[in-house]
Amino acid sequence: MSEGAMAVVKPEMKSYIWLQTADGSIQQVEEEVAMFCPMICREVVQTGMGSSKNYAIVLPQRVNPPILGLILDYCRFHQIPGRSNKERKTFDEKFIRMDTKKLCELTSAADSLQLKPLVDLTSRALARIIEGKTPEEIRETFHLPDDLTEEEKLEPLRNITDDPRIRLLNRLYARKRKELKEREKLKTVEAEEERVDERSADDLLSYINSGDGKGVRANKSKKKNRRRKDPSKDALSNKVNGDHDEVEAVSTACSHGEAKDLEVASPHKASKLRDSFIGTFSPKLEFDDGDMDDDLDPAMREELDREVEDFARRLNSDWPERMQELLCLGPPESKLLPVHINGLDRR
């Protein structure tokens, strides 16, 4: 073909590339615009696809028609080499103004097409949206589920701000959770209490102490039942009376706030103390699942009780009046130790 003929033919023959989106619809796009996307470019070069309607390039799942339209707008502007940096920046600033949902979809689609400049642009925009917002605001913007438990929410932050009590609490929570899981495997009866994600601090601690299926509580009361059978009632009430001094001792020790000392001082006494209180103010609860804990050895139960007491005491070492309340009050209907951890009251 002579050069003159070529020159005449060229302007009329604009090349198009055929693209198929996830919903099956096919459209044609100017070649230079489509080739701006590395993924499309690669498909054309390597497989030769896209030259006609029947051989349309199938785009990744995440690219739907409206998003594809946006991407092609971006490509159409930027593929022109003569544009100045200022022009490009102005275009980008305007282009990025869209609602968050679309922005996320666009990010995802641009990533699947390997269009790095657009991914950078959208990432920057998303970062700007997130920056400075409170967690609630961010959750609302991105429709994130608020599915962390109270202590999980605290865990990473608290670790960072260095609170040894919360660290200990976390460790014990983890251990408790593990043990409770084991116990639940052995459970035959008793559906779980409905696990509500929005737990208050009180709920959390009762979860630790009493378990979801009243496991620990039943455990304790079981112990009580057994104990009641063996020693005489007098012995029990003596214990209660005798332990009053220990109550004072423990509570005063607590008010000094020396968690370490307490740990050494009287772990056994304290747990026995609580047990005896539980025994005294006999709960009006049914313990039909009292048998289920037979498989657990008493040593572990003892240990669990001790640990619970330990951390509860530690947490409360700054709140002597709470501690007093705790030791003197009987257990309410559903909770044994209504301890408020400072700061956990806020969600």
Binding site: T100, K101, C104, T107, S108, D111, V119, D120, S123, R124, L126, A127, I130, E131, G132, P135, I138, R139, F142, H143, L144, P145, D146, D147, L148, E152, K153, P156, L157, N159, I160, T161, D162
Partner: protein
């Protein structure tokens, strides 16, 4: 309503989290279950004074910051490519050693930036030198002591040392042993440093401070050079006596033939002028487009000569900025104006010079000769901007009259006289 963002690919989420200040990134851990540890695998950790906003009772910003950084490092999982701490609140503390040890152990760190408070010097532990993959190192207010068998950072491209205590030969060896080094910035070493730079790949060099001597021995690819050189006056005299034969100008610039921009401030012109005049230079700076020289003393004939030689060795110069220095102690006869006729090559023309800017002009003879020379030889000059100095106001009219007479080689040249 569906979650919009949590299921995006990890690379995108990381890209977003990296663009957040570290405090916001860490706070994403309480958004939802999926987000709990997304922040923990970002590869760039940048800490500054903003990380800790609220102070706890009995703690300082420094203490909180140290705790924050340590905790983040501890909770972090995966490679760390960039670690930056830039805050004036932090001074030398043992935790810094541990952070660097931690980073050097995983030996993936590529960029390390420590810009700390200037009150104390942090002694950098030797484990820094086992970070094999370092490409970018920036230290300030530190004490550096490379171990004797240190083989260099083989991947290092950029090195910046500000107020760093290090021996001259240690620094020279460090530079020499980093074969890929392209950017080098050395500022404010404690003593007057005499330094020789051998860096075959060096492209950008920035020097600031009190240097006793600078020798670019092996910098063939250097394209940007910026020097702010301070020198005590007595040092200058000492130089004159010691190195009367060696010409600093030649020594300094002859090994940088590919220079594209040159900026010299404070005593730089003076430094170059020390030594005997070498005569017309044998090298030409064909790529040199921008020259900026500050504090050139136009009463010192030697400095004027340096300037003259420099610009007549740069045929492709496009932009020239000169500021005249305070003319306090003229050395040599100030009226030897014939050097302009003698030393300028005959029929010299600037074929690319478009912008000339001259500030603090007093109107003294050498200044006027320079302007005359430039106007008469710049074929495509567009603007010549002249700002008079705040002294010698009575000379202005004379200066302007003289300026008007000068022949202009470029018909498009505009002379802009800025009054303050």
């Amino acid at each position: 309503m569906d979650d919009l963002i949590s299921d995006l690919p990890q690379s995108i989420l990381e890209s977003i989290l990296t663009r957040l200040p570290i405090r916001d990134a860490v706070k994403t851990s309480i958004l939802s279950r999926k987000w709990r540890y997304k922040w923990a695998s970002i590869t760039e950790l940048v800490f500054d004074g903003e990380c800790v906003s609220s102070l706890h009772e009995g703690s300082t910003i420094e203490g909180s910051l140290v705790k924050f950084i340590t905790r983040v490092l501890f909770l972090h999982q995966g490679p760390i490519h960039k670690f930056q701490v830039s805050t004036c609140y932090l001074h030398s503390c043992p935790d810094i050693d541990q952070w660097i040890l931690f980073l050097s152990r995983s030996s993936d760190v590529r960029e390390l930036i420590l810009k700390l408070g200037e009150a104390e010097w942090v002694r950098i532990p030797s484990c820094l030198f086992s970070c094999k993959k370092l490409t970018h190192l920036e230290l300030s207010s530190c004490e550096l002591d490379p171990p004797p068998r240190f083989k260099g950072f083989l991947c290092l491209r950029s090195l910046s040392l500000y107020r760093v205590l290090v021996a001259a030969d240690a620094i020279e060896n460090l530079i020499w042993n980093c074969p890929l080094l392209e950017n080098l910035a050395l500022s404010y070493f404690d003593d007057s440093l005499a330094i020789t730079i051998r860096a075959p790949n060096l492209k950008h060099l920035y020097l600031e401070g009190d240097f006793a001597d600078i020798f670019l021995e092996n910098t063939p690819l250097l394209c940007n050079l910026s020097v702010v050189m301070y020198m005590a006056d007595d040092m200058a005299e000492q130089f004159e006596l010691e190195q009367s034969s060696n010409c600093n100008f030649v020594k300094f610039l002859s090994h940088a033939p590919r220079l594209e921009s040159l900026a010299g401030r404070a005593y730089f012109a003076k430094y170059l002028s020390i030594g005997d005049d070498p005569g017309p230079l044998s090298i030409t700076f064909d790529h040199l487009k921008i020259i900026e020289l500050c504090e050139v003393s136009f009463e010192d004939m030697k400095e004027v000569l340096v300037l003259l030689r420099l610009i007549t060795s740069s045929p492709n110069l496009e932009e020239l900025r000169i500021s005249a220095g305070a003319n306090t102690s003229p050395a040599g006869a100030p009226d030897s104006l014939d050097i302009w006729e003698r030393e300028c090559p005959a029929d010299w023309t600037f074929k690319q010079l478009k912008v000339v800017k001259m500030t603090d002009v007093d109107g003294i003879p050498h200044e006027m000769e320079l302007l005359k020379f430039l106007l008469g030889s710049s074929l495509v000059l567009k603007t010549m901007t002249i700002s008079p100095s705040t002294y010698f106001k009575h000379n202005r009219m004379d200066m302007l009259i003289e300026l008007l007479r000068f022949r202009r080689a470029s018909s498009e040249a505009e002379i802009i006289f800025l009054q303050e």
